[in-house]
């Protein structure tokens, strides 16, 4: 099975090529069939690979497969190859599995779009790059995937480029990600530089991890922080999260696949993959954890007041990603990756569910205009509620297990503040998720009559993936827990990958680790109860506000309008997303725009400026002389007329012959070089 690993990314790639080149001439059915078939193929191979890995003894589960030498020069050597280990197989399972379901769903969702073939070409291409990212056996293959998924993401966000907001969102995602990627590249660069100065001329994970002892802690801290900058871009963390909410302009299945289930988790994967590096840089780990948990709380508060069905989900994604970062930052890689997986299930499900709703509502995304949809679309409603229960951390749904694992790890490692913030976030999450559920599916429908008449359940091709995902979201945790829970067989599944990382993380939190041992057992159950209680509390409060049968029990001040009015400044702040976009506009975007405007006139401005300045001085001087002349000869009377005439001539002359300006710059350049050579 290992031999077929190359097929996993290549199948989607083939699909992308076929659909990209011939898709415009093929019927939509064929396009959809090809796209789904390649995904199914990739999924089948991934599953068998997964089973194969499971069947191997624990210490043989990390397999390097090399296909061919990519770059080799002198001592330097770089292969195109995969690293197949528990982490990467788990990731490809998620990518191909969820990817397959979303592809199938998309066939129904996009069936009326004229860019049908284009959509599937991009989507397949995205899966290809994502698989390269997670399968790659060295940093450059990961970088290839990293850049590739970004590109596809921008193309898909701006898929409906007729909408200006969509193409703007694509551009925004690009620009924000550039900042992150720049950090990522610098990090890789620094790693390569440091290693090469110690004679390590390879970027394979295994070689790099084995030679980390060459690098001092300060350098590795810088490297890991730079890599994390990349992760904040790709995985939408503070302060670079701003692109993700806007990315909801893309088709909803894209939001489900790229901006919930897979690509945005690439940052988490990257840190988990580099656990050996982060283990050596405790400060970076702390930074990751703090940024993660702050993002989680921050995004959750924004999510409280959003009215766009997809925006709520977007902020919840940012928030959940924050959880994952908090986990991996604390060294709880297993918990982080576990949450990554369950999140892929329930958030994928909820996005697809919201897609189904939007589909039924004829494109309407404002929850204030929805309501009572449960009557019309039972499957969507039930599956969506399952997703919401999962994300709210209700047992026995999947989110409960993974979220609880993270909170427990935080508590156990002595990071009580992080635990508390996580708990608060869990409460807020439950609240805004059920606010969404109640606003959308219960009560009276607030849509206009025309829309109401057209309300319908989505076709089977869309509901079947929903049902499968709902099963996964419900049961994924129980199945998963047997894989991930400490002390069970599954703990062994991922732990070999994180051995080094877990080791060092234990050192970091060493002083409390002993306490943790003692607390284990009883404490865990208490914490579990507390977090479930927080979730229930959130659901209940949301119900009091938005669920009609409960509303009548609510005290008079407990109404959305009243609360909003009472806390007007806070409400406005949240509603406007803390004005972060506006702030960025003022602090960064506008100055850059001004800078670009300045760049536009750079050639004209600077170079001309020097020359024209000189010309201007000459002319001024000549003009003064001339003036003087006129004054002597013709007197004051004529001077006004002469002035204007001369002025126009002066402006015409400002359009100097560029050729000689060029020659002048040429000579000045020569002079500078001669001068510097003379002095140096």
């Amino acid at each position: 099975m290992i031999e077929l690993a190359w097929l996993i990314p290549m199948l989607p790639f083939t699909g992308a090529v076929i659909n990209g080149f011939f898709g415009s001439r093929m019927p939509k059915k064929t396009v959809g069939l090809i796209a789904c078939l390649v995904m199914a193929g990739a999924f089948i191979i991934s599953s068998s690979l997964f089973i194969k890995i499971l069947s191997l003894p624990v210490d043989q589960r990390s397999i390097e497969v090399t296909y061919f030498t990519w770059i080799a020069s002198g001592a330097f050597h770089l292969d195109i190859g995969f690293l197949i280990d528990p982490l990467s197989t788990l990731m490809i399972m998620v990518v191909t599995g969820v990817g397959l379901l979303i592809h199938i769903y998309s066939v129904g969702y996009m069936h009326e779009d004229k860019g049908f073939w284009r959509y599937f070409a991009y989507l397949n291409l995205f899966v290809f790059f994502m698989l390269m990212l997670v399968l790659g056996g060295n940093y450059l293959v990961m970088f290839l995937g990293w850049e590739g998924v970004g590109l596809c993401s921008f193309l898909l966000i701006g898929f409906w480029y007729e909408k200006k907001s969509a193409s703007d969102a694509g551009k925004k995602a690009f620009v924000v990600n550039r900042i992150g990627d720049f950090g990522f590249v610098l990090g890789l660069f620094l790693l390569f530089w440091t290693l090469s100065s110690h004679g390590v001329t390879s970027l394979d994970y295994k070689t790099v991890f084995a030679s980390l002892h060459h690098i001092d802690t300060a350098t590795i801290t810088v490297i890991t922080l730079l890599l994390f900058v990349g992760a904040t871009g790709k995985s939408a963390q503070l302060p670079l999260y701003v692109w993700l909410p806007d990315a909801m302009e893309g088709p909803t299945p894209v939001s489900a696949l790229i901006h919930a289930a897979t690509m945005v988790t690439a940052g988490v994967y990257m840190i988990a993959r580099n656990n050996a590096l982060y283990a050596m840089a405790p400060i970076s780990g702390e930074v990751v954890a703090v940024v993660g948990i702050c993002t989680a709380l921050f995004a959750a508060t924004i999510g409280l007041v959003q009215n766009d069905i997809k925006k709520v989900l977007a902020y919840s994604t940012v928030s959940q990603l924050g959880y994952m970062f908090a986990a991996v930052g604390l060294g709880a890689y297993t918990a982080g990756v576990f949450h990554l997986m369950t999140h892929a299930f329930f958030k994928g499900l909820m996005f697809l569910g919201s897609g189904s709703v939007i589909h039924a509502m004829g494109g309407e995304q404002d929850m204030r205009k929805m309501g009572g949809l449960h009557k019309h679309m039972k499957i969507t409603s039930v599956t969506f509620i399952i997703g919401a229960l999962a994300i709210a951390g209700m047992p026995p749904f999947s989110g409960f297990w993974s979220k609880d694992e993270i909170l427990w790890e935080a508590f156990e490692k002595g990071h009580t503040i992080i635990w508390a913030m996580g708990l608060l976030t869990a409460f807020l999450t439950a609240f805004y998720m059920f606010r969404q559920v109640f606003m959308t599916f219960t009560g009276e429908c607030r849509a206009d009559r025309h829309t109401q008449e057209h309300l319908h359940e989505s076709p089977k091709i869309m509901t079947v993936p929903l049902i499968i995902l709902a099963i996964l979201a419900a049961a994924g945790g129980i199945v998963g827990i047997s894989f991930f829970e400490e002390g069970t067989a599954a703990h062994h599944f991922l732990s070999p990958v994180f051995e080094q990382g877990g080791h060092a993380a234990a050192n970091v939190g060493g002083h409390v680790a002993q306490n943790g041992e003692a607390l284990h057992g009883g404490m865990e159950a208490i914490l579990m109860a507390v977090s479930v209680a927080a979730g229930l509390c959130g659901i209940f409060l949301a119900g009091l506000l938005y669920y009609a049968p409960l509303k009548k029990y609510a005290p008079s001040f407990w109404r959305p309008e009243v609360i909003a009015a009472a806390f007007k400044p806070v409400y406005a702040l949240l509603y406007n997303k803390y004005y972060v976009d506006e702030m960025y506009d003022h602090i960064i975007v506008n100055p850059i725009k001004r800078f670009c405007g300045w760049c536009l006139s750079f050639d004209l401005g600077i170079i001309d400026g020097i020359v024209n300045g000189a010309a201007w001085t000459t002319r001024l001087w000549a003009w003064l002389l001339h003036k003087f002349d006129i004054y002597i000869i013709d007197g004051v009377i004529n001077s006004a007329a002469t002035f204007t005439g001369y002025n126009s001539g002066f402006w015409r002359r400002l359009q100097t012959g560029r050729l000689q300006n060029y020659a002048l710059i040429f000579v000045i350049g020569l002079l500078i070089i001669v001068g510097s050579a003379l002095l140096g």
């Binding site: 536009l600 050639d603 004209l604 100097t656 012959g657 560029r658 000689q660 020659a663 000579v667």
Partner: protein, 108 residues
């Protein structure tokens, strides 16, 4: 320095100084004059200054490579003038001007 052998007190430096003075005058002409024809003439001055220094080196080092290089230079310069004037004629036909600074359709 072969100056001792040659009774006259002309040294290499004499020629080189003359050469770079002519070079600078040529550069000044290229930078200053608006008339393309005179710009082209100034370019010829630059080539001549190079020829002087090459010939001087050649003489003071008693080697002939420099002299031969000068022959190549003269030939190539003549060819360049032919092309330059041809371009000038096309420019004049199209733009009806021989002033360099009136040719600024492209910029930025």
């Amino acid at each position: 320095m072969p100056a001792g052998k040659y009774k006259n007190m002309l040294t290499l430096t004499h020629f080189l100084i003359l050469s770079f003075i002519l070079f600078s005058i040529g550069v000044a002409g290229v930078l200053l004059r608006r008339n393309i024809i005179i710009v082209l003439m100034s370019l010829e001055l630059i080539f001549n200054s190079v020829n002087i220094s090459l010939a001087a080196f050649s003489y003071f080092m008693q080697s002939l490579s420099g002299t031969i290089f000068v022959i190549f230079n003269i030939t190539i310069a003549a060819a360049e003038v032919a092309i330059g004037l041809a371009i000038l004629v096309t420019v004049y036909r199209r733009r009806k001007t021989v002033y360099v600074d009136e040719l600024d359709e492209m910029k930025g």
